[in-house]
Subunit: 135 residues, 4 copies
């Protein structure tokens, strides 16, 4: 299955990405760019976006990019650097690129920027690539 | 302010933790144990919990534990190991403990177990400890 | 091959662990405890142990513990938290324990303590477990 | 003190970077590029470079880049992805770039490539920036 179709199939059943309001902007093999807008119900006790929100956005971009290669890819170990506060109304764009793709393990770098083009988070993720293909 | 009161104040305004259905089970200075149940709207295109869900639960436990020491604590760098799939209906418990507390940086280890007491995720987080106190 | 024998075979050819002066204190399947003493030639421009020294000690403990299970294990993604300065003459002990062992991926937690039993570093590592066995 | 002078001062006292055979290729504020050649005594029981070697090289590049900004910078939390095996005789180049520089925390991305320009490791590091300046 081609990259675009795989991500459409994933997104169609991805209830949490829908709740986040994620829109897919661009996909190609090993790459994804997606967007969402932060709502009040995504904030924490400090009145800023909960750390899980930027993580979840990056994680969706990561899943789309790594699966778009054609084989099922499962996240194993991931890290995120929180670089700036994110507020209600902010428009976030996550862009996922490949650092390296091996036979079994692949590593991705995901940046999150806001509507002012400021880098607000940086995410690095490892997937285990199964033999099973998207079909 | 004492640990219990700080977490109550945080939770009262934490809209995303409420959406997740988080219940605070136990809090003391530098420690938090919380629980939630996975709902269908938290799942991804594979029909299992989105990686952002276990992360968010752990991140709330981490925030509660690190702030309960009395000073405002802000997450900087965090990693998570996904160890087993999480399904709709699973009851997850996150327990956050201190690895080390320095003057400016503190490090926490958070485990997530399910209703069968299986370890499903392991989270490690760094906070920057501000001078500002909870009051 | 049994755990003890695997680590002996690894250590016999591990020139860098020898340079570090590593002594193996205890090994069992999935576990290793090793020790070294910090020398002046291991220090950096601040006059304290280079970050690579505590990392390398933990990495050896991690390799011994993960390979001692019987299958070849290769490090993929690792993180380290530096918690306290390490000085010339310090005696460091690294203890590696399993967080989780899956069929292909396993995760280990390694602590480093000094001669005062202070925690000076915390390391978390992922290995990919090959099919190939130690023999 | 300017970037070049700071790194010269650090390198002059950095006994472990000398043992590694590190040469500084290029430095500017927030940036460092350094090189080393892998020797047999840097290898592990698999006959390839010990994981601590690529880590140590990246860690030196990270220290040089983060301190070259003028304030003392101390590594706190770091991760490394091992992407390809490194052999005796390989010439490794580590290049450290800024992801983000805040007042107290800064984050760097370090790539390690070999003489064939293959990416063999990727390192991400956080420093705590002290008030103390290099002088």
């Amino acid at each position: 299955m081609e990259a675009q179709k795989i991500v459409e199939a994933m997104m169609a059943k991805d209830e949490f990405s829908k709740w986040l309001g994620i829109e897919v902007l661009s996909v190609k093999s090993g790459y994804a760019k997606i967007q969402m807008t932060v709502r009040n119900e995504m904030c924490n006790g400090f009145g800023i976006a909960h750390g899980g929100i930027s993580f979840s956005l990056a994680d969706s971009a990561f899943a789309f990019a790594s699966n778009s290669r054609g084989r099922h890819a499962v996240s194993t170990e991931v890290s995120i650097s929180h670089l700036a506060a994110i507020n209600t109304g902010d428009i976030l764009i996550a862009e996922s690129k490949e650092i390296n793709v091996g036979n079994r393990i692949a590593v991705y770098s995901i940046t999150i920027t806001n509507q002012k083009d400021e880098l607000v988070a940086h995410f690095k993720g490892n997937v285990f690539r199964k033999s099973q293909e998207w079909e």
